[in-house]
């Protein structure tokens, strides 16, 4: 029996080596001083990290990505919090259908969504590309915002809300002073999860590029097609650091069970 457990432990170790090894390799190669990615690196240098800040396209697309992810996040919150509240608080006809509609953006293949948005949001509705990006990313983030906040609301005792109402506070006042503060950590977690989804998105953004407008992941894809120097490895390391920090905060706020529940 011990024997079998040890076998299983070794197997699991190898699985994690497979999952994390490549990320470790990319991190190590980012310190390569030469112009070609090598493993192991031929020395230690931070020149490719400096290069990120010297290549204007990386800085510009990083800015676009930040603006789109942050503004889209706010928009998704404005649309998603009321919806999540209605879906958790009230029983009504057609509720599960509406639930489905709000979650549906995750069911449609991303690349299909990107193309359909290019076709209608950019061409038919004639929105500027920047606005198209914003709208696309808001649609993308909405299901994550709604799902996380709804699960946070499911732990909220609505009797507290009733108490506030019966003591004479208005519905809106109660919502802002009683309900929102109680689901604060859920909202922050929702924002972080949605931000990562949006910031890393390729499928929608790849259709929404134009003169001077593109997001960081798309710029990285274009760069990789033309150059094989360690700049992308250096950016990857910075992105992984941000991801790790976000994940740590999410774990603190609501544990990791959100990810294991389906």
């Amino acid at each position: 029996m011990r024997e079998k457990n040890r076998g299983l432990a070794l197997f699991t170790f190898l699985i994690f080596l497979f999952l994390l090894g490549p990320l470790l390799i990319i991190s190590v190669t980012s310190f390569e001083p030469g112009t070609v990615l090598k493993f192991p690196p031929q020395g230690f240098s931070l020149r490719w990290y400096e290069n990120i800040f010297e290549v204007e396209m990386f800085m510009e697309t990083f800015k676009t990505s930040m603006i789109v992810s942050l503004a889209g996040n706010l928009l998704a919150l404005a649309l998603g919090i009321p919806a999540a509240y209605a879906l958790s608080r009230f029983q009504f006809k057609g509720k599960s259908l509406l639930n489905g509609v709000f979650i549906s953006p995750v069911l449609i293949p991303g690349i299909v969504m990107g193309f359909a948005m290019l076709k209608y949001v950019i061409i038919t509705y004639q929105l500027p590309i920047y606005a198209g990006l914003l709208v696309g990313h808001t649609v993308l983030m909405l299901p994550f915002i709604i799902r996380v906040i709804a699960s946070s609301l499911s732990n909220f005792d609505f009797a507290i809300e009733e108490a506030s109402l019966s003591l004479g506070a208005g519905r809106l006042e109660t919502f802002f002073k009683v309900v929102l503060p109680n689901i604060r950590s859920g909202i922050i977690a929702a924002v972080l999860i949605a931000f990562l989804e949006s910031f890393n998105n390729v499928d929608i953004s790849v259709f929404m590029t134009g003169p001077g407008v593109s997001t960081l992941p798309i710029q990285m894809l274009t760069y990789v097609e033309n150059y094989f120097d360690p700049t992308i490895a250096a950016i990857s390391v910075l992105l992984m650091i941000i991801t790790a920090i976000f994940m740590f905060i999410i774990e603190r706020l609501m544990g990791l069970s959100y990810f294991t529940k389906r």
Binding site: L19, L79, P82, S236
Partner: protein, 273 residues
């Protein structure tokens, strides 16, 4: 009055989704059945008659099936091991599995370009060990795509399965063993059937995910097209929007058929009925 409030809460989100998702998707699907104002199936007939398109579809399905099976075979034992650990160790391993999942797919696919390239880590190691004489051509083949996709989706199936296995009552295993079942039989007769719902959800996520993934095939597949990169090529490079819409509709159809079939299977196989 109460109803009005409910509508006010739901309406903004619904309008937004209708305008920017439902209409674009519905119109894209509808547009494939009309050309110059009259009903036609020409786009689909064209697709089905062209061996090049069919080969792309076939490659995509093959890659997705292999990826899904590999994820199940690799993920199931690992998930079982993790689910048996104490809370501390379990938390650490779950975090290590979730981290790659949250990491950019560009980063993850790029890491495999470093490893699988002609002068990549794998080839240079194998060459210096004298195991091969010429560098292996892995990058820009379906194998590279599969490796990249397995790397992309394995964490998803692991954490889904851990979520399900955690809830299996350990007493069931003990009961099976005390009734004379061997460890392995108990595992096969208790853990496996009770994990079926998680296995099915996990498989749907992996299969549909591989079928529609764009970044990994775009970076690791080279000239080898799959259906998603083919959609992009038609839309952007070739500017053939009718064909791109046909491909988009086929992708939606396959996605919904797979989800529907798996759901049916799930209700059928669910031991709780």
């Amino acid at each position: 009055m109460k109803k009005l409030g409910l509508y006010l809460l739901l309406l903004p989100g619904l309008l937004f989704l209708t305008l920017f998702m439902v209409i674009p998707i519905a119109m894209t699907v509808l547009s494939t059945f009309f050309q110059e104002g009259s009903f036609t199936l020409e786009g689909y007939l064209h697709f089905l008659a062209d061996p090049y398109f069919l080969k792309i579809l076939w490659t995509t399905l093959q890659v997705s099936v292999v990826t899904t099976i590999a994820c199940i075979l690799l993920g199931f034992p690992a998930a079982y091991y993790i689910s048996k650990l104490g809370p501390r160790k379990k938390g650490v391993l779950l975090a290590l599995a979730i981290f790659p999942l949250l990491t950019s797919s560009v980063v993850r696919s790029f890491s495999w370009m470093i490893i699988l390239g002609k002068k990549g880590l794998l080839n240079s190691s194998l060459l210096s060990l004298g195991l091969i004489e010429k560098p292996l051509e892995i990058l820009y083949t379906p194998s590279a795509m599969m490796i990249g996709l397995i790397h992309l989706f394995l964490p998803l199936i692991i954490i889904t399965l851990v979520g399900v296995m955690e809830n299996i009552d350990p007493d069931l295993l003990k009961a099976a063993e005390s009734l004379g079942a061997s460890k392995f039989t108990a595992f096969r007769q208790v853990i496996v059937p009770l994990s079926v719902p998680g296995l099915i959800i996990g498989s749907i996520l992996v299969f549909v995910g591989s079928l529609t993934a764009y970044t990994t095939p775009a970076l690791l597949g080279g000239k080898q097209r799959v259906i998603s990169t083919f959609l992009y090529q038609n839309a952007i490079t070739l500017n053939d929007w009718h064909m791109a819409s046909v491909i988009a509709t086929i992708m939606i159809a396959i996605t919904f058929i797979v989800i529907g079939l798996m759901n049916k299977l799930a209700t059928k196989l669910n031991p709780k009925g």
